[in-house]
């Protein structure tokens, strides 16, 4: 199988600039199907920009991006996306179910009500993130962490082959973070996961590769991540935390 067939995401010689300022420089990247990638890097380094380029919400200045061998716009139906602590109106009159159902848009009828099948799929997605019992609650009444999980459910409701998550662990406490990684690990058995991380708390047993984004983009297998690489990304000594399974972790200072 050629690289093109087996890649979920393939980026070649891609440059992106915003208002004349180069945000991403000469990106070459191949993420195989079934991979679990954590995207790390400093604030403003271009992590979210990279996700938006993969989604086709932004266009590269030069180079090409292919998702499942297609242009990003064409691949959208196969991508589930969870935006970064979404700047959405918390007072919006909708139930948890209403919000998750938005993931079914574009699947069924062009107008009218959602089908029973849509509701079943969404029910399952809510169940997976542990929100099924809250499905009739209003969006305004649930907590920040619950909203986070709701947006993951909405992304799952798209029945994606590729899941793009922008800082899914923001607003989550340690226990919920552990649960989330477990969920993503399960999902990774059938789909490709790309996740932007707000810190270096990547789970070595779950994440297979780490993409470092700081104008340039480099990919490393998780096992090869060293203190040097981290210093290189962030430009200052950082504390590296490695979680090994259920809470038994060791901390290294570099």
């Amino acid at each position: 199988m050629s690289e093109k067939d087996s890649s979920a995401i393939l980026i070649k010689d891609m440059w992106f600039s915003y208002d004349g300022y180069t945000v991403l420089e000469d990106v070459n990247l191949a993420i195989p199907k079934g991979d679990f990638v954590s995207v790390v890097g400093p604030n403003g380094g271009g992590k979210t920009t990279l996700l938006k380029l993969i989604l086709g919400l932004l266009r590269p200045f030069r180079g090409e991006i292919r998702v499942f061998g297609l242009l990003p716009e064409a691949a959208r139906p196969r991508i589930g996306y969870m935006p970064q602590h979404a700047q959405l109106d918390p007072q919006f009159p909708a139930t948890v179910m209403d919000v998750a159902l938005m993931g079914r848009l574009g699947h069924g009828r062009p107008f009218g009500l959602y089908s029973r099948k849509d509701k079943e799929i969404v029910g399952e997605a809510l169940d997976q993130v542990g929100l099924y019992n809250l499905r009739k609650k209003s969006f305004s009444s649930i907590s920040g962490g619950q909203r986070q999980r709701l947006f993951i459910a909405r992304a799952l409701a798209c029945e994606p082959e590729l899941l793009l998550l922008d800082e899914p662990t923001a607003n989550l406490d340690m226990v919920m973070e552990g649960d989330l990684y477990e969920l993503l690990h399960t999902l990774n058995q059938r789909l490709t996961v790309v996740m932007v991380s707000h810190d270096l708390g990547f789970v070595s047993t779950v994440v297979k590769n780490v993409i470092c984004v700081k104008r340039k983009v480099l990919i490393h297998p998780t096992s090869e991540i060293t203190g040097e690489i981290i210093n290189d990304i962030y430009g200052s000594p950082m504390r590296m935390v490695r979680h090994n399974g259920a809470g038994a972790g060791s901390c290294h200072s570099s």
Partner: protein
Amino acid sequence: MSQFLTDLQHYSFLQHALLTGILASVACGIIGTYIVVRRISYIADGIAHTVLGGMGAALYIHRVYHWHGVVPIHGALIAAVIAAIVIGLVSLWAKQREDTVISAFWAVGMAVGILFIARTPGYSEDLMGYLFGNILMVSSDELWMLAGLDVIIVAVGLLFYNQFMAVCFDQEFARLRGVNVELFYLLLLCLAALTVVVLATVVGIIMVIALLTLPVGIAALFSTTMWRMMAISTILCVIFTTSGLVLSYGPDYPAGATTIIIAGAAYLGTTTVKWVLNRGQS
């Protein structure tokens, strides 16, 4: 009150007025909800004021050129839809400040209307009717036209409920799900334009915004879903327009202004009660 009920059986203008209020309320509840949750009431108000330009131009053509097929509501419709599309396009694509463009439409629309009406021979009372409503003057032709507009607004507004909700809630996500975000936004503004024209008959273009937002504002206190917000605000709007008509009839108050006072008092009352109750809880 009893005087109103007796007269209602005898005078068709009162029956028309009552029906106009009810028709307007349905459009108002549905589109008002979208406008409030998407927070674009300023755009709706801009469109409302632009309508005067169209009304004035149509009236001028009607009186000066004796084109009797052209009546002010035609001009109102054209002006409203043009304003909706231009403001929509600007807010979607242009780098202009959106509120500046809305203000420009708002003021220029009114200025055009006032000039036309000033140059139109005949009674200048028309201007007052357009500005503050003339629900007691609705002819049966106009009533049919309002009913037709109502059907369009309600059908489109409900048929694409899911899309409109997604576009109002999270535009970026809707786009990723293949919803044509720009098209639905413009469609929503056009529906708002039609609603404004229907409501302008009831309360006049200056006070349209109150009827679009106040019932929804009250309904929001009791709704966790959008369709419920639509249902409650429609019912409230029927209550406000009908009671405004009934209460103003005896003492011969302006019906539009009476309706708005009732709606405003209800909004103030419910939000205050809600606030006091919430304070008691915490």
